[in-house]
C-alpha cells in the first residue's frame, strides 16, 4: 500500500538493490572463472566444492591451488576495495555536497602516497635489517599512517573557531593534495631506476598483493566502513538541504562530518595501503549509482558499495587477462575506462538540461 503511494524509483528500490547485488555476485563468479591459468567451469565448481567434502573429481590439484590461493583472495580483495572506494566516494560527495568530490579530497590518498613513496625510496637499506615480515609490513603501515596523518592535517586546517567548515576543508584538501604530489615529484627525482619503477607501479595500483593474510588485515577495516557507512544515510540526506537546515532537522553536523571523515580515511587508507592508488572508482561510481536509482543516500551509499565492488572485480579480471601472462595495473584500467565514462555522463547530463 505504502510502496504504491511513493514515487516509482523509491518504490522499486529494494528490487533494484537486489538486482545490483546479483550483478556484483555474477561479476565475482565470472572473475573467478577467468585468468591466465586454465580453469574451465566444471573444474571451477569442482574445486569450489572440494572443502565442503563434495568431491566431483573434475579438477587437478594445481587448479585447486590457483583458485583457493590466488584467484579467490584476489577477487575478494577487489570486491572489498571496490566497495570501500565506492562507498567512500558516496560519503565524500554527500559530505561536501559536491558531485565532483572524491575520497582523495580529505587528503588520505596523497598522505598514503607520501608514506608509501618514502618507504620505496628511502627504506631500501634499513628495511633489510628488519625481519622479513616487518619489512613487508613497512609499506602498507606507512601508507595507512601517512593517510591518517594527512587527513588529520586537512581536518585541522579546516577548523575555524572550533568548528570544521566543510567548504574550507575541500579547499585545504585541494592544497594538501597539490603539496603531496609535489613531494612525490621530489621523491621521484631522488629515486633510482628501480625505485622509480616501483613507485610508478604503486601509483597505478595493483591487486597483485592479494593473499589471505592481506585480507585478514584489510577486510575488517573495510567491512567496518561498509557496515557503518549506510547508517549515516538519513543525516547525509538532511545535509543535502544545507548545513543550517540539517542542524534544524536535528543533525549534529559537526559529528556527522567527523564520522564521515573517519570512515573515508579508514576505508581509503586500508585500500591504498594494500593495493596502491586506484583512481576514478570513488569519483565515478556514485554518479552511476545515482543514475540507476535516486539521489537519496539510503540508495547511493549501499548501491555505490555494490557497484564499486562489481566494477573493480571486472576491471581486475581484465587486468589479469588482457596481457597474460603479464598483467596490467588495475588503476590504469579504472582510470582508462572511468574518465571517458565520466565525460559521457557529463555530456548526457548537460544535453538533458
Amino acid at each position: 500500500m505504502n510502496a504504491a503511494a511513493l514515487p516509482l524509483p523509491l518504490g522499486r528500490r529494494p528490487s533494484r538493490m537486489g538486482l545490483l547485488a546479483g550483478l556484483s555476485l555474477l561479476a565475482a563468479l565470472i572473475a573467478l572463472a577467468v585468468g591466465a591459468f586454465p580453469l574451465p567451469p566444471a573444474a571451477l565448481i569442482s574445486a569450489l566444492l572440494e572443502p565442503l567434502g563434495i568431491d566431483l573429481g573434475r579438477h587437478a590439484a594445481d587448479q585447486s591451488f590457483v583458485l583457493w590461493h590466488i584467484r579467490l583472495p584476489r577477487v575478494l580483495l577487489a570486491a572489498l576495495v571496490g566497495g570501500a572506494l565506492g562507498i567512500s566516494g558516496a560519503l565524500s560527495q554527500g559530505l561536501f555536497r559536491n558531485p565532483l568530490a572524491e575520497p582523495a579530497l580529505i587528503g588520505v590518498a596523497s598522505g598514503a602516497a607520501i608514506g608509501a613513496a618514502s618507504v620505496i625510496v628511502f627504506a631500501g637499506s634499513w628495511l633489510a635489517a628488519l625481519p622479513a615480515w616487518a619489512g613487508a609490513a613497512a609499506l602498507p603501515v606507512a601508507a595507512f599512517v601517512g593517510g591518517g596523518l594527512c587527513t588529520a592535517l586537512v581536518h585541522r586546517l579546516a577548523r575555524v573557531d572550533g568548528r570544521t567548515a566543510v567548504d574550507t576543508m575541500l579547499l585545504a584538501g585541494v592544497a594538501i593534495n597539490a603539496l603531496g604530489f609535489a613531494a612525490i615529484g621530489l621523491l621521484q627525482v631522488i629515486a633510482d631506476d628501480e625505485q622509480l619503477r616501483g613507485l610508478t607501479f604503486w601509483l597505478l595500483g595493483s591487486l597483485g598483493g592479494a593473499t589471505w593474510s592481506a585480507l585478514a588485515v584489510g577486510a575488517p577495516l573495510m567491512l567496518l566502513v561498509l557496515a557503518l557507512g549506510p547508517l549515516l544515510a538519513r543525516q547525509l540526506d538532511a545535509l543535502l538541504l544545507g548545513e543550517s537546515e540539517a542542524g534544524h532537522l536535528g543533525v549534529d553536523v559537526q559529528r556527522l562530518e567527523r564520522r564521515c571523515v573517519a570512515l573515508i580515511a579508514l576505508a581509503v587508507g586500508a585500500a591504498v595501503a594494500l593495493c596502491g592508488v586506484i583512481g576514478f572508482v570513488g569519483l565515478v561510481v556514485p554518479h552511476i549509482a545515482r543514475r540507476l536509482g535516486t539521489v537519496s543516500h539510503r540508495w547511493t551509499l549501499p548501491a555505490s558499495a555494490l557497484l564499486g565492488a562489481g566494477l573493480l572485480v571486472i576491471a581486475d579480471a581484465l587486468g589479469r587477462t588482457l596481457t597474460a601472462p603479464a598483467e596490467l595495473p588495475v588503476g590504469a584500467i579504472t582510470s582508462l575506462a572511468g574518465a571517458p565514462f565520466f565525460l559521457v555522463l557529463l555530456q548526457r547530463r548537460s544535453a538533458r538540461r
Partner: protein, 280 residues
Amino acid sequence: MRPLLMFGVGALLLVLAALPALAAEPGRIVALGGGVTATLDALGLGGAIVAVDASSHPPAKNPGVPRVGYYRQLSAEGVLALRPTHIIGPVGAGPAAAIEQLEASGARVDLLPPVKSVDGARARIEAIGRLVDRAAQAAGVLEAFDGELARAKAVAAGSGRSPRVLFVFVHGGASLQVAGRGTAAHAMVTAAGATLAGDHEGYRPLTAEGVVVARPDVILATPRSLAGVGGEDALWKNPGLAATPAGQKKRLVVVDDVRLLGFGPETGAVARELAEAFHR
C-alpha cells in the same frame, strides 16, 4: 652363473651411482632478468625456458617465448599458467605475495643477489650452473669469459692510454642521464681499460656545462637511448657534447643495453669489444 650375476649387479650399481652425475632434466624454467636469461641460454637451457621477463632478450632457440612483464610486478597466476618447475631471477622479484604463492605452488624459486660488477657476473654464472646442474657447462662459459677479459686488458695495455668515456642513458622515458660511480656502466668501462667521465654517484641528468667539464674522448650509448635523443646527428647537436674531444671527432660507441649492463655470459666479450672500440 654366480660371477656373472655379481658382475651384472655391480654394473647396475655403477650405472646408478653415475646417474646423478648426468645432467638432470632441466624442467620448465621461468627466467627473470637479462643476465639470468642470457646465462641459462649460454648453459644450453634456452629450450627449457618457458617464459622471460620484460628486461630479458628471448633465448636464441626460443624467440617467441611468452613474457611475464616487469620482474617486480609478476602475476602469480600468469606465471603458474606456464606450469614452471623452476623460477630463477634476481632478489627483488615480486611482489612478495606473488613469490609466496609461486613457492607454495610447489615450483622451485631461486632468487640471486643483484650483480653490479664483472666479478659478480662470474659468480652468478657459477651459481646458476650449480642451480640447474650445468656446472661443467658453466666452467666452459667462464673459461671463454676470462679469455675475453684478458684480451680486453691486453688491448688496453697495448694502447698505453686510458680514454675518458661518457655513458649516456635514457631512464624510463626521462631526459638523457650520465652514468657516474657505482653504476653498471662504470664497471664495464673500467673492465675495458678506460676511465668513466663522470665524477658523481649514480645517474645524473645531462647538462651542457657538465659534459664540457667531463671532457669525454668517446660517448657510449645504447640503441634505445640513441633513439630517445633522435639519433646520432641529434646527439652531436647537444651544445655541451659538441665542445668535447668526443664531439669534435664524433666518436660514438653503441652497445645493446642487455649485453652492456646485464652482466651475463657475454660480459667478457662486451668488455673486449669496448676495449677495441675505445683504444682505437
